[in-house]
Symmetry: C2
Subunit: 394 residues, 2 copies
């Protein structure tokens, strides 16, 4: 009798982990620009200890017992959506363990194996992995300096319809996109909302970085433009408070939220953590913190841009208006497969561009995260990157 015979067909084969460890080296300490982690310098310590004491001093039964998610957090999310122009209703908010939980649960609601899902090319590698594991057929739509190319989107939708294919959803990161750092223009947002209704396709709008704007005016999220209920907005407290708390959320069509709630099999998220985040915000810390994060990351971004222009003046890139990333096209003919090992030898780790494309293309790009590395090490890292590229160019 074999235990493995009991597994459901899709889990017979063991899938590789979605996340790998950072590179290490015996030689010199590596500065990593590979991952979009938060800067530990700006993780709020005292405020969280204070908020913990406050929530435990009040209604301990609501915070530490079996209890629903903090209603105050649901209200907070709805209020923040209203500030963005959404006529938000609390019952359409679902609080989850990070926004990645939503990306993992969505296919259970929407994807039968073989169903088509549209993703940006390039996009967030974690989302690609979760959709692909559910058996989705991923179709990439290109991104340019103004975000997702809506002409390409429309022609893709038209071609698919001609072949009888209705994609289940489009996954997009409209603001300070991961990995390109670009922002979808207002005109394109409006066009996408129109196309969604016309083609009956859900738009999954992952706006993880929306609050981390360094300059320029905010644009309305697509969920604010959506009159017909095709947009699911995905949000997170990971970028504006702390990833380690694991608090994300979704807002959108009631029928979709209701079903996401069902496939979230463990029930509602931690009362303790959701009360903690709500209290942090109620004390006024969240808005103050976001303002300080914007200044902090803007300075780090500016430092990286200046270092790149000094060190690698021949490379052009789109300077981001916010977020965590700069997307770099390597010199003609150079691939990240060649650059990666040389850069590690020089003591800098970058994310290989092909990790960001559903079809594995994109090895002419690298993604640089300025979020996690100490600001003093950004110049060192970019010098090492410059040396690596010059070494390969001979």
């Amino acid at each position: 009798m074999n235990l493995a015979d009991l597994f459901t067909p899709r889990l017979r084969e063991l899938l590789p982990p979605l996340w790998g460890p950072s590179a290490t080296s015996g030689e010199i300490p590596i500065v990593s620009l590979a991952y979009g982690l938060a800067d530990p310098l700006v993780l709020p310590r005292e405020e969280l200890v204070e908020a913990t004491a406050q929530i435990l001093a009040t209604d301990i039964d609501a915070v530490l017992n079996y209890a629903p998610v903090a209603a105050e957090l649901v209200t907070l999310v709805a209020e923040r959506l209203r500030r963005e122009g959404v006529d938000a209703h609390e019952q359409q908010v679902l609080i989850t363990y990070g926004s990645s939980q939503i990306l993992g649960l969505l296919p259970q609601v929407l994807v039968n194996p073989g169903d088509t899902v549209l993703v940006e090319a390039p996009t967030f590698m974690g989302a690609v992995g979760l959709f692909a594991r559910a058996g989705a057929h991923l179709v990439g739509v290109p991104v340019d300096a103004n975000g997702l190319d809506v002409e390409a989107l429309e022609s893709t939708l038209r071609d698919l319809r001609a072949r009888g294919v209705r994609p289940k959803f489009l996954y997009t990161i409209p603001t300070f996109q991961n990995p390109t750092g670009t922002t979808l223009s207002l005109a394109r947002r409006q066009r996408i909302v129109t196309l969604a209704a016309e083609y009956g396709v859900i738009v999954v709008e992952d706006d993880a970085y929306i609050d981390l704007r360094f300059h320029g005016e905010p644009l309305p999220p697509m969920v604010a433009l959506d009159q017909e209920g095709w947009v699911l907005r995905v949000g997170t407290f990971s970028k504006i408070l702390a990833p380690g708390l694991r608090v994300g959320w979704a807002y959108g069509p009631q029928a979709l939220i209701d079903r996401l709630r069902i496939v979230k099999v463990e029930g509602s998220s931690s009362p303790f953590v959701t009360h903690l985040v709500a209290r942090f915000a109620a004390e006024g810390h969240l808005d103050t913190h976001i303002a300080s994060l914007r200044r902090h990351y803007a300075a780090k971004c500016a430092t990286m841009i200046a270092a790149l222009r000094r060190e690698l003046p021949e490379l052009s890139f789109v300077p981001p208006d916010g977020g965590f990333f700069i997307w770099l096209r390597l010199p003609e003919g150079m691939s990240t497969h060649k650059l990666g090992p040389v850069a590690l030898e020089q003591g800098v780790e970058v994310l290989h561009g092909n990790r960001c494309f559903a079809d594995g293309s994109g090895s002419e790009y690298i993604r640089l995260a300025f979020s996690h590395v100490p600001e003093t090490q950004i110049e060192v890292a970019i010098q090492r990157l410059g040396n690596s590229i010059r070494t390969l160019m001979g």
Copy 2:
């Protein structure tokens, strides 16, 4: 174009929520004995504030950033298993958002719609709901004063095999069972482990209450008796620390743990909360707290038993050696459907026994939880129950 057309077949229909709100009444405040919540009096306030300050004062990047689950918590679970006689390996431990997350994810790994799953009759209603939603065909095996009836189990397994059916798993709560409060004898534990290997069936051993023993000697969990790797032990910090933190775990065969990790789509559990629990334990608070909980709940249980014997001497029941519950058979001919409304009028809420049977039978039973209600209200609640029963008997 209809959004609902995009849902996968099993989510077209909207399933009702697994959990309902407690009863309320405009007349008199209701004392509820319906749910196995923790007593708010013994939720540890100061120790958790202190532990929060400690974890944030040390490696904040590991606690608040994107990071793996606290390794210290994995080690703690393995050490506690070793104390129970398990030769535990850390890589076979999976930390989850409450043990209910494991019960929700298990069917994704093991159950194709129509597959057979064995459950105790009666059992934990939340588990039944999660297995049934996944399309499992649930077969009940009776429970007596010594826990699961192993003769009935063997004949069920034999009958199923004769019909070509290999059940995917047996779900059992061996210690201070929910809802009956009974404990599986050592001989039966050994027999179940033998039967599991013989019939190639996984045993899901949910030992949520194991540490809340009021008297008597602890028995080894089945995972400690299992030489061939058929037992998955499910554990939780909800009963021994705080449900609101949502921290549970599973330990078992590597191939099964690896697959549970894959279907836990949001990745590893909160670094913040897992470090918090590990620190609470490292400071020595967990063992002290468990000792104090055992005294606290033992006293409440004794109060309820005394009140029942005084108020309803004609009813016999099995006094539990630990846990949260007393299981009561109603007088001949009385059903919980009749008793429930009368009891609510009298100001006491109980759990209807039929909520604990996969086939909806069991309306001749009620479950009384002594865990959540303040000790001073236990006598009042049992008096009201006695009045209700006497009213119905005329």
